[in-house]
Amino acid sequence: MRLFLGSCFTLVLAAAIGLGATWLTLTRGVAFGALSIGAWTAWPRSGSVDIDPYARATIARTGELPVGTGDGVAFYARSDDTGNPFDGRCSFAISGLSPAARFWTLTLYDLEGRLVANAIDRHSFTSAEIVRDAEGRFIINIAPRARPGNWLPTGGIERFVLVWRLYDTPIGVATRTTKEGPMPAIVEKSCS
């Protein structure tokens, strides 16, 4: 009897641990070989056959197609430089110089990877349409309400993800340090 109870307990606990760990890793997007620069994180190996089993399982579950290594690299940010998670009711400013790439795009998604509805129908900026100052620096304002200059609307949703995709770039699997690929800073401006 004790043996039976013990094995039941063990099996239930094992299932809970195993499935719980799988669910956690796949929803959090755990993968190896992360390249973090400031608030931005990329997984360059996910765009090649060296993709690890966790990233493979994650993309199979979400149904997305990763950016291929010969094409470019995608950086994700879910919080600003100090670690405050993005809140669509607050405003954030991204500032800096363009990273080393032939083209880049910056897109705002909800946590499920959908574009966010807004009045001016803007979901992203490309490197070609951004307004810069004389030195080539730019500021992108991410805010629920209209801002002058480069305004990327949040639509007022609670949580969002920013994806910075660099196309035809030297930044990739071999990049090790922040110096090789400086990424723009993200600062929270105000919260209403």
Binding site: F9, G47, P53, R61, G68, T69, L115
Partner: protein, 186 residues
């Protein structure tokens, strides 16, 4: 008693680890809504299809880049190799090859291709090995890609640097073709 409980818990941990690893490894095969499955209803086999642009209301796949026009060829090499022809658009253009389970195994952009048209032959390792030798020589300037799986996806992306250029990017992709090569004459 305490030792016995400890042993049961230790067993549960080991077993849980096995459950975790096997579910992670099985996920790509078990997933019902992966990219290939999402594209199956909109993209016929071995035909280039331009996808609808993602909007806040609807998108074929999550995390699509809205600045790009996208065309997909859902291929099946079980009968014959495939030939891909893609004219390069004015702006940035790339071709990425994915296996049935969304692993990107090859990607090339317009600059790396270095021509006005990207031309590629896609075949399985077996089909490449079966190719007559003379043909391999005459085809020295042909770019041959080996697909690790019979089925998979070719994704063409053309950048519209400004929203006004989207129509042009989509037109450029409209001229792209993927078709099964006519069988070699006996």
């Amino acid at each position: 008693m305490i030792l016995r409980v400890f042993l049961w818990i230790l067993g549960a941990l080991v077993l849980g680890g096995i459950v975790h690893l096997s579910t992670v490894l099985a996920m790509p095969q078990a997933a019902k809504q992966d990219a290939y499955a999402r594209l199956a209803p909109v993209a016929p086999v071995n035909t280039m299809t331009t996808l609808a642009a993602p909007t806040a209301q609807a998108a074929v796949m999550p995390f699509m880049d809205p600045a790009f026009a996208v065309a997909v060829c859902r291929y099946d090499l079980s009968n014959a190799p495939l030939k891909l022809t893609a004219p390069v658009s004015q702006s940035y253009t790339s071709v990425t090859f994915y296996t049935r389970n969304s692993v990107a195994y090859y990607a090339i952009n317009d600059r790396a291709a270095g021509r006005r048209t990207i031309e590629l032959d896609l075949m399985t390792t077996q089909q490449h090995a079966d190719m007559p030798e003379e043909e391999d020589v005459t085809a020295a300037d042909r770019l041959i890609i080996e697909s690790p799986t019979n089925a998979g996806l070719i994704v063409l992306r053309a950048l519209a640097a400004e929203p006004g250029l989207m129509a042009m990017a989509r037109r450029a992709l409209g001229a792209a073709q993927c078709r099964v090569e006519p069988q070699a004459k006996p």
